[in-house]
Symmetry: C2
Subunit: 222 residues, 2 copies
């Protein structure tokens, strides 16, 4: 049986301006469960934005860590030291890197999420061939969850089955063409442009949170 977590709305804050990023995080905070930051924001405005955002909502450092263990653990350490509560690592680079990141996470009581396959088309070239093995690896090593594509619902369903007991978060809804149906098969959806490019980001976040909560009610009444 699939463990049911409360479904989350994760805001992917892929902006390049600090003030704009912080304002949208504040504006949408009531309806957002976590904020996901990636390199474009952090490189543009500095890593300390993670600390600032973490006062609004827990921050996932989506650094898609994909390096040798020595470098990967340094990257993870910088993320956690600056207030991230979770990091995202690629499983494709192998278990030594994932383990190195997990070791750092433990020191900070942080979480580690592993990319199964990207939501983009290119993932169909190589990643798709290994995503199930990668999910198994994430589970075996004691990671907290996996990232799986909302753009390929059939894959998402399969990944979720294998990931039983781990959280499954889904990017790709909205601008990347992924379906809201992904909510049903995940523990959280990651939404960026559909919120922060909206005329009213707060309304958009509220609308999405409402849809997610409705799915939660339905899951629990099954």
């Amino acid at each position: 049986m699939q463990v049911e977590f409360m479904k989350e709305l994760i805001l992917a804050l892929d902006l390049l301006d600090r003030e704009e990023a912080v304002n949208i995080a504040l504006d949408t905070s009531d309806f957002v469960d976590r904020i996901k930051v990636n390199y474009p924001l952090v490189l543009s405005v500095g890593i300390d934005v993670v600390k600032e955002l973490s006062k609004i909502n827990p921050v996932i450092a989506d650094f898609k860590i994909a390096d040798i263990p020595y470098i990967s653990s340094k990257i993870a350490e910088i993320a956690f030291k600056n207030g991230a509560s979770a990091v995202i690592v690629h499983g494709f680079v192998g278990r030594d890197t994932v383990k190195a990141v997990l070791n750092v996470a433990k020191e900070y009581s942080g979480e580690v999420y592993v990319v199964s396959e990207l939501s983009s088309e290119g993932a169909e070239e190589f990643m798709i061939k290994h995503s199930i093995e990668i999910v198994k690896l994430a589970k075996e090593l004691g990671c907290h969850g996996v990232i799986a594509p909302a753009t390929r619902i059939d894959r998402l369903i399969r990944i979720r089955e294998v990931a039983e007991g781990l959280k499954v978060f889904c990017p790709g809804i909205g601008f990347q063409g992924g379906s809201l149906e992904a909510i049903k098969y995940s523990d959280g959806i990651i939404v960026g442009r559909a919120i922060y490019l909206a005329t009213n980001p707060r309304d958009e976040a509220m609308k999405l949170k409402k849809i997610i909560s409705d799915y939660d009610v339905r899951s629990n009444s099954l």
Copy 2:
């Protein structure tokens, strides 16, 4: 026939302190052809360190870009805008991401290097199965070179054959256990800790540059 480029010494400046990084870059600059920077330095001290280092030697932004095209092109743009002359991207995420990064590189007359397989052990789990395809992809798309492991000489030799016409740069010598023999089968070696942790980084860089130049002389006299 393998095209022969002048072999290079690339300094992997994986430090966390700006002054120390800049001092070692200056100290070793006569013997180093390029500086490779990675996230730990840039996240710790800010992206503008790339501009500062690029005044000493050309900088490769080793951001091991491994995201969807939309984010990957943003990361590449930040690297080039801040003075990098090259970026490193992962091929396993698929050709859409590599293409997106190449498009940005073109705007800045920058170079793109693709990771074939990491020098760490974990690469033997998934990456090794696709590294030859990834090198072919890099060639087909018009990338400038590939990164191949000094820790697996047999793989390096094979990757270099397939990569004909592209540069092949090798990390993993020294602390990771890779052999100096990698110089023979590459167009440049990437050395970090063996230089910057040395009692005298300048002497170490000089010594390595001399070894590399000797290989160059031998290659040309064949």
